[in-house]
């Protein structure tokens, strides 16, 4: 190290550079939001970063989607690996490779080297979720894929601009492999411009502060974050914490949930996450490659350090061990487009472990991300009949220590993501929303209940050849409570065929299901898991929830043992029957452990007979069934009960 590198910047220059790096990436975000084409980007599924000349991340945008955190430096480094000796001012490269640290094919990153004169000083990167990247399913989410070949176009590092000249041959080749080439070219322009915004800012800083100081600042902002994280970690007690969460199934294997084990160790100022015991890759797209797994760990941890800026100084602090070829360390060509499923499991498990260490920020499990994809011919528009869309819904987040969970919020993988308006969807696609509102009784019961989920029901209008696919999870690994709190409810989609009037449960994952005009599809999203024993919830809070219709009078009694009398619903006049409440609570207290250990096949029978519903099954009896037929999922139930014992029963008095 020469003298230049060891000498600290003065505090003012340091603070100014640090904030200016962040302002530069915020300016990139502003540019993208205003010029993007893909609706997914418009709804804020994007991120931007500045990198040093080695590809390390210096700053990431304040409002960037969580899921990209901790992956941008990998893709930048892969671009460097490929173009190392052949980079020029005015170049822009593209990459979307999940096997090189990217997330999934839909997230396409444009990377621009920044030169001061002929010296490479850093990179700017703009990453956006494009609406389509080809493959056999509209939107490039092919649930049935086992390998990437049926999923989408894989872009290993390519050159999109060469010394400022737009390489239309490469851009067109990529666009030609998608369902929406015009928009793809538009997004390339939008993102390439965003990277230029950051280049301009870095060069301005160099002009003002000199190259050496700016490069020094790039190093120091990383050191600064590392120092802050180390400080906080060394303030925590040493120890080891472990937990497990599950993906619902491996469609290529029998019934039984797919475990992801995490063991976290804090020692001094170091922290490691060991995934030993996690399941091998599965035969669906619900696998995660190394980069995405790393991102999930960082995103989960960052939730407990919300004020710290994100850059490679943070990332250096995190060490990960994962068994080879597991569901969290998939390699080419295993399909990984559904990586968000393991991602959210990792994130929630990290929530659970950190909740013990930092109880003032404790939080139970959040609902699971879900996507509905549809495509076909819109008979209302003979001139442009092909349509495709996908939409995602918000749901509830977990109950907290001293606070109910956050109601109707975007999935935890990306809290910046916005939900879509029904009016926009109805205008563009042949569907009509019949209902889109809060789902009564979806919050997981607890002393502090989970946040509420929603329900959306839509009818297909005049359309031909329409197929729908659904990407979700936690139909079996149901959203769980902690500290004695209860689960929410199973995810899954139900279809009602207009010709026969028949209703069918299609569950949380299926692809290319054919539907006809007039068919109606309905899906709820779960609420968050409950925090703390629901029998300890203040009856006055339960009463308020009933008045607002988050909780029904019936479930107030079943889940909370709070008996509420309706005096005049129109006037919102309800009251708690204290004597009956006391009686109901003692009855539940006396029996609940027995219910939760009851013979699962007897529970299955009660469900088949219509005596209990799915909320009773998961909250009271801790049993996982095929929610359509009522058949018992024996292995899944055993796995679910094991965690229920630990997260709920063990905390009941």
């Amino acid at each position: 190290m020469d003298a230049q590198e060891t000498q600290d910047l003065d505090p003012v220059t340091f603070e100014v550079l640090k904030n200016s790096f962040i302002t530069a990436v915020d300016q990139m975000a502003e540019q993208m939001l205003r010029t993007c084409y893909s609706f997914v980007i418009y709804n804020r599924d994007f991120s931007n970063a500045l990198h040093d000349a080695e590809g390390n991340c210096i700053a990431q945008g304040n409002a960037d989607i969580a899921v990209h955190v901790g992956t941008l430096h990998y893709t930048c480094k892969d671009v460097i690996r490929v173009f190392r000796d052949d980079m020029h001012p005015g170049d822009v490269y593209a990459i979307n490779d999940p096997y090189a640290g990217g997330t999934h094919f839909s997230d396409v990153r444009l990377i621009r080297p920044i030169f001061d004169g002929d010296v490479l000083v850093g990179f700017s990167q703009s990453n956006g979720h494009w609406s389509d990247l080809g493959g056999s399913v509209p939107g490039s989410f092919n649930v049935a894929a086992h390998e990437m070949f049926g999923e989408a176009v894989r872009i290993t590092p390519v050159r999109l601009f060469h010394k400022g000249r737009y390489c239309s041959d490469v851009a067109n080749m990529i666009a030609a492999n998608t369902r929406d080439p015009g928009s793809i070219i538009g997004d390339i322009q939008s993102q390439a411009q965003a990277t230029q915004v950051a280049e301009r800012e870095v060069l301005r800083l160099i002009e003002k502060y000199g190259r050496d100081q700016v490069l020094q600042g790039m190093r120091e902002v990383q050191d600064y974050v590392e120092r802050s994280v180390r400080q906080r970690i060394s303030d925590l007690p040493d120890g080891t914490w472990a937990s497990v969460d599950y993906i619902d199934r491996d469609p290529g294997a029998g019934e039984g949930m797919i475990p992801i084990h995490i063991r976290m160790t804090i020692k001094g100022d170091r922290i490691t996450y060991d995934f030993a015991g996690s399941h091998p890759t599965i035969s669906s797209i619900y696998n995660s490659a190394d980069g995405a797994t790393f991102s999930a760990v960082v995103a989960g941890m960052k939730t407990f350090f919300p004020d710290l800026p994100l850059n490679s100084g943070f990332y250096r602090m995190v060490e990960i061990d994962a068994p080879a070829d597991s569901v969290v360390s998939a390699k080419w060509p295993v399909a990984v487009t559904g990586f968000l499923m393991p991602f959210e499991k990792i994130m929630n498990t990290i929530f659970e472990m950190w909740s013990v260490i930092v109880p003032e920020r404790a939080i139970a499990c959040a609902f699971n991300l879900e996507y509905l994809l549809a495509g076909g011919n819109d008979l209302r528009k003979p001139e442009k009949p092909i349509y495709m869309f996908y939409e995602w819904l918000p749901g509830g987040w977990g109950g907290r220590n001293g606070k109910d969970g956050s109601d109707v919020t975007t999935a935890c993988f990306g809290t910046g993501l916005m939900s879509q308006p029904s009016e926009g969807n109805e205008r563009v696609n042949p569907t009509r929303a019949d209902e889109f509102q809060i789902m009564r009784d979806s919050p997981g019961p607890g002393k502090w209940r989970g946040g509420a989920g929603v329900i959306k029901a839509s009818t297909l209008l005049e359309a031909d050849n329409t197929v729908i696919s659904y990407i979700c999870d936690r139909e079996r690994a149901v959203v769980w409570g902690v500290e004695g709190g209860l689960p929410s409810m199973p995810h899954g989609l139900e279809i009602e065929h207009s010709e026969t009037g028949e209703k069918m449960w299609l569950g949380s994952v299926f692809s290319n299901y054919r539907i006809k005009s007039g068919d109606r599809f309905t899906r709820p999203t779960a609420g968050g898991g409950g925090y703390g024993d629901p029998l300890e919830r203040d009856p006055a809070h339960v009463l308020e929830d009933v008045i607002d219709d988050y909780v029904s009078v019936e479930r107030a009694e079943k889940d909370y043992g709070v008996v509420i009398r309706v005096i005049d619903a129109d006037m919102l006049d309800y009251e708690v029957d204290s004597a009956a409440t006391e009686a109901a609570r003692s009855e539940i207290r006396a029996n609940r452990v027995g219910w939760a250990r009851m013979d699962p096949s007897a529970v299955s029978q009660m469900y088949k007979d219509g005596e209990i519903n799915e909320l009773d099954a998961v909250r009271r009896y801790a049993v996982i069934l095929d929610w359509g037929t009522g058949e018992l999922m024996e292995r899944s139930t055993a796995q679910f009960r094991e965690t229920f014992e630990r997260r709920s029963i063990a905390h009941w008095s």
């Binding site: 505090p11 302002t23 540019q31 804020r44 918000p394 919020t409 029904s422 929303a433 129109d570």
Partner: protein, 675 residues
């Protein structure tokens, strides 16, 4: 007594009454402590203290925080919403995003209307405007009956797709009016007829909840003024930068949200224009925060993406103001990573900076300015005395010792970080929108604006800083400088290539008729009526539109498309000549021009002003001898160079070394900071 104009700006601490003599243009200011429980009291006190005879007043305009405060404090009358069956929760589902992405304990506030008071009725319009189901009138009456029993004071009616067809909403309103004749009713198809249910419902909800509050306030104030002899309409400043009369407040109460903040931007634009700078940046720095605004080619930039509370957009056009947590009272601190930070925490008005001697011991920007000699120790004409020893102690303990710096070095470090943060805010509003700061003037006002303005300008390469005569009360002046203004818009979703000029003319004819009717309603004479058209467009497939100015008579759609390409290139640095362009919306800004009084001007006599004394002031790590001037001694034509300090009742102006200051004909100090 000569005719006068009165403008009142109600702030959190003070209510400023600004009185202008119509003949001479002379302005005087009466400052009165605000009375937040009923802001009207301070207004009346101020008028009385200033000796204004309301019978002589020809124009009374008012920027009010009543709507904003009601929303922030949630002191709102019970309000209900009636929605389409199945869509009770649009305003609670929102877009489901969070303001703070990472803090899981920080929630978005609940909607202004709680779930229990959101009821539904069967009805449905489809995306093309076809009625799929008429309003179920029996249910509508039942719902109206329930709301009547509950005693709600206002109702928002929000139906899906009402932006294309408001028929069912209008029928619902009639039924509600039959049952509850005295209740305020806002319907989404009238308030904000644009696509996307949450944004429309939210705007309508805000309008409904503030209606009773605002209408009551405005009618009480109107009555009071009329009793005092004022014979014209009370004019109320709205977020869009114009004023409206009580007749319109009844229908568009939510336009008054953000009223207070617009005044500073208007004043700044006006002063910039007055000095010949049609591009200007307003830099209004107070005790706890700084408001930044921008005027380009003489017009304030306007946004439709704003809110009082995150998650509840108000889609009425609003002057764009970026507020950041940096002010005179912002605290300097060292974080755990060892970085020197500035704000957003503030010592506020109480206890205030350390030098106020009220118990705060942490260094603030004001303390650093005292240590550097930039801020004198006697303020407000001697009413406030600052203690330099306490300022030194705070700077020493908070920054100098922890960072191993000399005292003055530490003070300068505090100021430099604050200035850089503020410069970054200006960058977000200017550079990231394609504006080059070198083409702008910075108008520095507010209590602390002129202390920091020159340094911020230098940081951004802005060549000129303008300090108006009364920086501390500039916002009140903004209220004097306004026209009656309303904004109307309508959806117009079409491919530009297949849109004939006649189609656009037909769309404009509809909203222009509405606009003219509105101005007639406000007694604007036809010769004072101005309509400005705009067309919002985007490249087909994009998600955000750009508003392009359209001529009063459209003869060619291609010309509009050409303007769009140019504007897209200016703002975003690229154009796609070959890509199809779509039209999203048409809009009309309807202005009823209010004759402006002239500000007083003075003969410019080049002169070297006399300093009231020298003072040691630190710049760039060295103590320099600066001349200290009294603002009232500086006549038009006075010229001096930095380092210099100008002191006045409500502000202090810093002229850094190398900068040249001159006093113009309106007594603005114009500082050329280059060099």
């Amino acid at each position: 007594m000569p005719s006068t104009r009165v403008a009142v700006d109600v702030g959190g601490t003070f209510t400023d009454v600004c009185i202008m003599d119509e003949d001479t243009g002379q302005i005087r200011i009466e400052k009165t402590p605000s009375t937040p429980d009923d802001p009207m009291r301070a207004i009346i006190t101020g008028i009385d203290d200033a000796g204004v005879n309301l019978a002589d007043v020809t124009m009374f305009s008012h920027g009010t925080t009543v709507a904003t405060n009601a929303l922030i404090t949630r002191k709102l009358p019970r309000t209900a919403m009636v929605c389409t069956e199945g869509f009770r929760d649009v305003v609670e589902i929102r877009r489901s995003n969070k303001e703070d992405l990472w803090d899981t304990y920080k929630d978005v506030a609940k909607p202004y209307i709680p779930r229990r008071d959101r009821l539904t009725v069967p009805e449905r319009i489809d995306a093309a405007g076809k009625v799929l189901a008429d309003l179920d009138e029996d249910e509508a009456r039942r719902v109206a009956g329930i709301l009547k029993r509950r005693g709600v004071e206002a109702v928002a009616v929000c139906f899906i797709n009402a932006y294309v067809n408001g028929q069912n909403e209008r029928r619902m309103k009639e039924i509600l009016q039959e049952v509850m004749p005295n209740v305020h009713i806002s319907i989404s198809s009238q308030i904000m007829p644009e696509i996307f249910e949450h944004e429309r419902f939210s705007t309508t909800m805000v309008n409904a909840v503030v209606s009773p509050v605002v209408v009551d306030y405005v009618s009480r104030l109107s009555d009071k003024l009329r009793d005092g002899g004022y014979g014209r309409d009370l004019l109320l400043l709205h977020s869009g930068g114009g004023v409206m009369t009580p007749a319109s407040v009844k229908d568009f109460a939510a336009r008054l949200a953000g009223s207070g903040i617009a005044a500073g931007a208007i004043a700044s634009r006006f002063i910039g224009n007055l000095c010949g700078y049609r591009n200007s940046i307003g830099f209004d720095m107070g005790g706890t925060s700084t408001d930044v605004s921008l005027a380009f080619e003489g017009e304030s930039t306007v946004t439709k993406d704003w809110f009082i509370e995150f998650g509840y957009p108000i889609r009425f056009p609003s002057i764009e103001v970026l507020t950041i947590g940096a002010g005179g009272g912002s605290l300097a601190w060292r974080d755990e990573g060892g970085s020197l930070r500035n704000g957003p925490q503030s010592a506020g008005a109480h206890p205030g900076p350390a030098c106020y001697s009220n118990g705060n011991e942490v260094a603030t920007n004001s303390d650093a300015n005292v240590v550097l000699g930039r801020l004198g120790t006697s303020l407000a004409g001697g009413d406030i005395t600052l203690d330099p020893a306490l300022a030194e102690k705070a700077v020493r303990e908070t920054v100098a010792v922890p960072f191993g710096m000399e005292l003055h070095e530490a003070a300068e470090a505090i100021i430099d970080v604050a200035n850089a943060n503020m410069a970054n805010a200006v960058r977000l509003l200017s550079i990231s929108r394609g504006h080059d700061p070198r083409d702008f003037a910075l108008v520095a006002f507010g209590g602390a604006g002129a202390l920091h303005g020159a340094a911020v300008a230098r940081e951004l390469s802005i060549p000129v800083v303008i300090v108006p005569p009364n920086p501390g009360v500039t916002s009140a002046m903004g209220c004097l400088l306004v026209d009656i203004q309303h904004d109307f818009s309508d959806s117009f979703m079409a491919d530009a290539a297949t849109t004939a000029p006649e189609d656009l003319e037909a769309a404009f004819a509809k909203i222009e008729a509405e606009a003219l009717e509105r101005l007639r309603h406000e007694d604007v004479a036809p010769e004072n009526t101005v309509l400005q058209r705009s067309v919002e467009m985007m490249y087909m497939g994009q998600w955000r539109s750009l508003a392009v100015t359209a001529p009063a008579r459209i003869t060619s759609t291609e010309d509009l498309v050409a303007s769009f390409h140019s504007q897209h290139e200016r703002e975003y640095n690229f154009r796609r000549e070959e890509a199809p362009v779509s039209i999203f919306r048409v809009g009309v800004k309807a202005t009823g021009v209010v004759p402006k009084a002239e500000l007083p001007s003075y003969e410019v006599r080049p002169q070297t002003p006399e300093a009231k004394g020298p003072r040691e002031v630190w710049f760039g790590g060295a103590p320099l001898t600066a001349s200290v001037y009294e603002r009232s001694d500086l006549g038009a034509g006075a010229a001096f160079t930095g380092p210099a300090i100008v002191e006045q009742l409500d502000s202090t102006v810093v002229v850094p070394p190398g900068a040249v200051a001159t006093v113009d004909t309106y007594l603005n100090i114009v500082i050329k900071v280059e060099g």
